[in-house]
Symmetry: C2
Subunit: 256 residues, 2 copies
Amino acid sequence: MHRGTILDLPKRHPGEVQSPCAACTVRDLSICSALKPAQLTSLTEIVTDISISPGQAVFFEGDPAEHLFVLRDGCARVCKVLADGRRMITGFFFPSDIVGLAEDVTYAYSCEAVTRISLCRFPRKSLQSLFVKFPALEQRVLSVATNELAAAQDQMVLLGRKTASEKLASFLLLLSSRAGRRNARRDELFLPMSRNDIGDHLGLTTESVSRCFTRLRKQEIIRLDAAHTITILDRDRLMALSGSGDYCIEPSAAVL
Amino acid sequence: MHRGTILDLPKRHPGEVQSPCAACTVRDLSICSALKPAQLTSLTEIVTDISISPGQAVFFEGDPAEHLFVLRDGCARVCKVLADGRRMITGFFFPSDIVGLAEDVTYAYSCEAVTRISLCRFPRKSLQSLFVKFPALEQRVLSVATNELAAAQDQMVLLGRKTASEKLASFLLLLSSRAGRRNARRDELFLPMSRNDIGDHLGLTTESVSRCFTRLRKQEIIRLDAAHTITILDRDRLMALSGSGDYCIEPSAAVL
DNA sequence: CGTATACTTGAATTGAGTCAATAAGTGTGG
DNA sequence: CCACACTTATTGACTCAATTCAAGTATACG
């Protein structure tokens, strides 16, 4: 696996008044939304455009954690690997997601492109300076971190307490909801990652993932249009299968 | 399970110049460390002392998320429960740890006392105001959130890719390191939580946890002094068993 | 000091993993 | 455009680690 190359893709025009961020497709969804249009130039000054092809790494576990990234296009995976090669994908990232949050001096995980991706790269030090100028920006980052934490806890429930079928059902529903939040098509899902990736994310083997897909297909809950495109035919039954109602009203809570 | 009662334990002396926080045992470890001694009164003004007895809840999943807590003494667990009762403990908390980070209007998990605990309760809104006055405080909270995120990712690796024995070994080592960071005794560990709690944290059953303890004991890697007190006899072998070296240097990374 | 709870241990079961073979894509170059 | 090689996905047969079920034992507590 090779490190991705840096391309200064959309050339900036020095005299330009409007920041290119103003036209960004994820402008309203990511941390950038914390800044007013007039303030965006502060971001433009410290950003570098990056483009990385499928399979290549944005950074490796152990690399100095010097940057924060905003994914603009494509899909990325974040992985941790044990000494003997067992791999865990702690999350998939889609446009507007932030990658690289770390308190340590090094990244505790690697980040790799699933599809071709383009990202905005911000030096952490420069961002830190902007936090002083624009407290709203830091608040936004804190909010993102907190949301990630909540998602991580859901994933722990999934990994520790759900069956293989429930895991896959939950995963599909999560992707569907995330797709809906971005743009469209909650029911026709594009799954850019391999079965192996899905397995490494759900704590399963490739074979188990495949078998669960087949089971869902035979139950006519989903349709496999292609290996990487599925249609959710019966969302209600998929939700019932997901073991969720993740948060449930505890009976004892109602008594009080 | 009942909600804990609020006790105004260590009575404040109104005329007192020094904040009681100055004498706090976790003063240097928690978010409070972001403030200078002279600034501590700002915290004192918004804090409430809480004490909760074993088994009682600090708050429930679904409760309005109005407070942030700093655990001063004892041990607490954070749980999520599925509709059919399956439970996952996403984390155990010890003195100086922060509980209640949430972006949502409600808590996404409940928090319960394992032992008798005492905590500082801060209204989130009031804290938010302090963030404006003391940016270092917000930075500290962001730093805590980021650390929690890293810990959550480690836990995902554990849940998704480690065997029962590796899970228990990792858990014991983590507790040991956390105990060391606080005060003392890295090798004589006090485990306040039940085997069932440990199981619900590691994605195992009570029986499996018990069997793994027995196995470690028979291998003379640990000694079971009492059900809740163990001694680590051979840290090296415990580490080898933990499957860790959690981050490993990827061979491919070295090539570059 | 007795009773409820928590912990340990053993035997039987099973859900997911492993191993192995086939099928379906994907891409490359002739 | 097709043939070949290669990767990825599916399916089946078998295995095994962890669960479930079932005692039994220790521990804590009123």
